[in-house]
């Protein structure tokens, strides 16, 4: 019974809770049992507080029984990347740099406050690359592993936030995406993940230093669940000076609109680029056929500046992050940083202000190109990852000096960085599997603040393609690791 509960979508769970066919207490116990059984291998979580979650579930149960049902997130368990403060939980940031007293959360992040108000139940804090940066070599709270094959990468940096909903350890996660840190883990672990429009979700209470690109968003097994969470966490917050005052659309109510006649543009440089494997191109072609079958018009757009997004993000956002750490911890705790983090931060600290300024100018040009494309089409479409996921050791960043190193740098995350540089919303949805059995994913992006269209297209694709029904059978995929 408990695995049946965790195998349901959040929407299905909410219906059962609303009509009191199940209790939130049962659901919390079911997730805690799976965490207990499998997280020794998968390492999706840093801190789990089962007693607190059960107590919150009992409160939710009583409220619902007395007619005070708050809505579709009431009694639904979730986890949050350990980069956001939640009172009562340490904020470890996935690092050995901080002393225990420095990890005490000073406040609730706005997203935690809003999910509390909606009645969602926080199970715990999820594993991440150090400080939410990518490229950590040795993760102090354990190596996150892919539930489809634990020898393979679970991506970065919201690694645990991708693993947990995929492995049936929570209904949804809250992650953070600077340069693909939600969409990458969503794609590689086979779930849905949204990078929202910049300013749509408050950053208050998140520990992040790349202020021009940091966004907070949900990961879950279905588009509908991600849309529901977005309705709860979006909206103006005076404590985030870059939060938008725009009203929030009703995302769930418009999910089922037909997409017939919508114009979707394939991004040529990402979908058919030299860095995209033939295998990914074939699976992506099949996904486009599904969209055509729904009546969408598939066209093509060229974004020739997309290839510059990765280095421009490194030359600007990484410099912003380095400027924080040079003042804080780097001089007196250098050896406590992971070697991958510290060499990247040290390199970023060397970027001259003149180069930073020029990079920010170039980002304006890349962004303009993306924005023009989003104005011309209802959505842009491309693969989220351009090759199949590799084993953990092979996914670790290699620093090289070969003749084509610059090209490789540009291609490394070409599929996700352009939308980060442009700060437009982008969503990753499962689109099938590679020959190695690991998930592949399709990505949709659109103009700022038009998440409703994004959810509409992504939901239509998801329902027609049916990949959302595939879940890793941990009894099978983790059997060798458990032995």
């Amino acid at each position: 019974m408990s695995d049946e509960l965790t195998g349901l979508s959040g929407h299905e769970q909410a219906e059962l809770i609303r009509c009191r066919a199940i209790s939130p207490v049962d659901l919390v116990h079911a997730y805690l049992a799976r965490i207990e059984r499998w997280d020794g291998i998968l390492r999706a979580w840093i801190t789990v507080d089962g007693d607190r979650a059960v107590a919150a579930a009992r409160t939710a149960e009583q409220e619902i029984a007395s007619g005070r049902y708050r809505g579709p997130l009431h009694g639904i368990p979730y986890g949050v990347k350990d980069q956001m403060h939640a009172l009562g939980f340490p904020t470890t940031l996935g690092t050995r740099v901080l002393d225990p007293e420095e990890t005490v959360a000073p406040c609730n992040a706005t997203v935690i406050e809003r999910l509390d108000a909606a009645g969602a139940i926080l199970l715990g804090k999820q594993n991440l690359h150090e400080f939410g940066k990518g490229g950590t070599i040795e993760l102090p709270f354990g190596q996150p592993r892919n539930p489809w094959n634990p020898a393979y990468s679970a991506s970065s940096s919201s690694s645990g936030s991708g693993i947990a909903p995929s492995a049936g350890m929570c209904t949804f996660s809250i992650g953070e995406d600077t340069g693909g840190s939600i969409r990458g883990p969503a794609a590689m672990n086979g779930v849905v993940g949204l990078r929202p429009t910049y300013g749509r979700v408050s950053r208050y209470g998140a520990v992040a230093a790349a202020y021009t690109s940091d966004t907070i968003g949900p990961l879950a097994r279905t588009v509908s669940d991600v849309a529901g969470v977005m309705e709860a966490i979006s909206g103006f917050d005076a404590r985030d000076p870059l939060s938008s005052k725009r009203s929030v659309d009703s995302y769930v109510a418009t999910l089922d609109r037909p997409i017939k006649g919508l114009r979707l543009a394939v991004v040529r440089e990402i979908a058919w680029g030299a860095g995209t494997t033939d295998e990914v191109k074939t699976v992506f072609q099949a996904a486009l056929d599904v969209l055509r079958s729904l009546g969408a018009q598939i066209e093509e757009v060229s974004l020739p500046l997309a290839k510059y997004a990765v280095p421009l993000q490194l030359l600007s956002a990484d410099a912003d992050v380095a400027s924080y750490f040079v003042k804080n911890y780097f001089r007196d705790r250098y050896d406590r940083f992971d070697v991958g983090t510290r060499t990247r931060l040290a390199a970023a600290s060397l970027i001259p202000a003149t180069v930073y300024n020029r990079a920010m100018r170039a980002r304006v040009l890349v962004r303009q190109e993306v924005l023009e494309a989003t104005k011309a089409y209802d959505a842009l479409v491309c693969p989220t990852i351009v090759r199949a996921t590799k084993p953990i050791e092979q996914e670790q960043e290699k620093i090289e000096n070969s003749d084509d190193a610059v090209v490789r740098l540009m291609e490394r995350r070409i599929s996700v960085y352009p939308f980060s540089v442009a700060n437009v919303p982008a969503i990753s949805v499962p689109m099938g599997f590679a020959s190695n059995g690991l998930p592949l994913a399709i990505q949709f992006a659109t103009k700022p603040f038009d998440e409703a269209t994004l959810f509409n297209v992504a939901h239509a694709y998801e329902r027609a393609a049916g990949w959302w029904q595939s879940q890793p059978d941990l009894e099978r995929t983790l059997v060798s690791a458990a032995a």
Partner: protein, 65 residues
């Protein structure tokens, strides 16, 4: 053209008081060199257009869409 030297890397890290281990210097030189090579490509492709725009951070609350 931005040309990275090991001397620049060492002296700028020292200027900031960052106590990098000696065996990590080659890694940092390689990383920074790669980024500057990429920057040189961006400059050669977009430099003139970059002169004509302001380096405004891409944050949204004051824009219309």
């Amino acid at each position: 053209m931005m040309n990275v030297t090991e001397e620049y890397v060492r002296s700028t890290l020292a200027l900031q008081g960052i106590p990098v281990r000696e065996n990590e210097i080659p890694n940092i030189v390689l990383r920074f060199s790669l980024w500057m090579k990429a920057f040189n490509e961006v400059e050669s492709a977009l430099g003139l257009q970059m002169n004509d725009v302001d380096p405004i951070p891409p944050v949204y609350p004051h824009e219309d869409f």
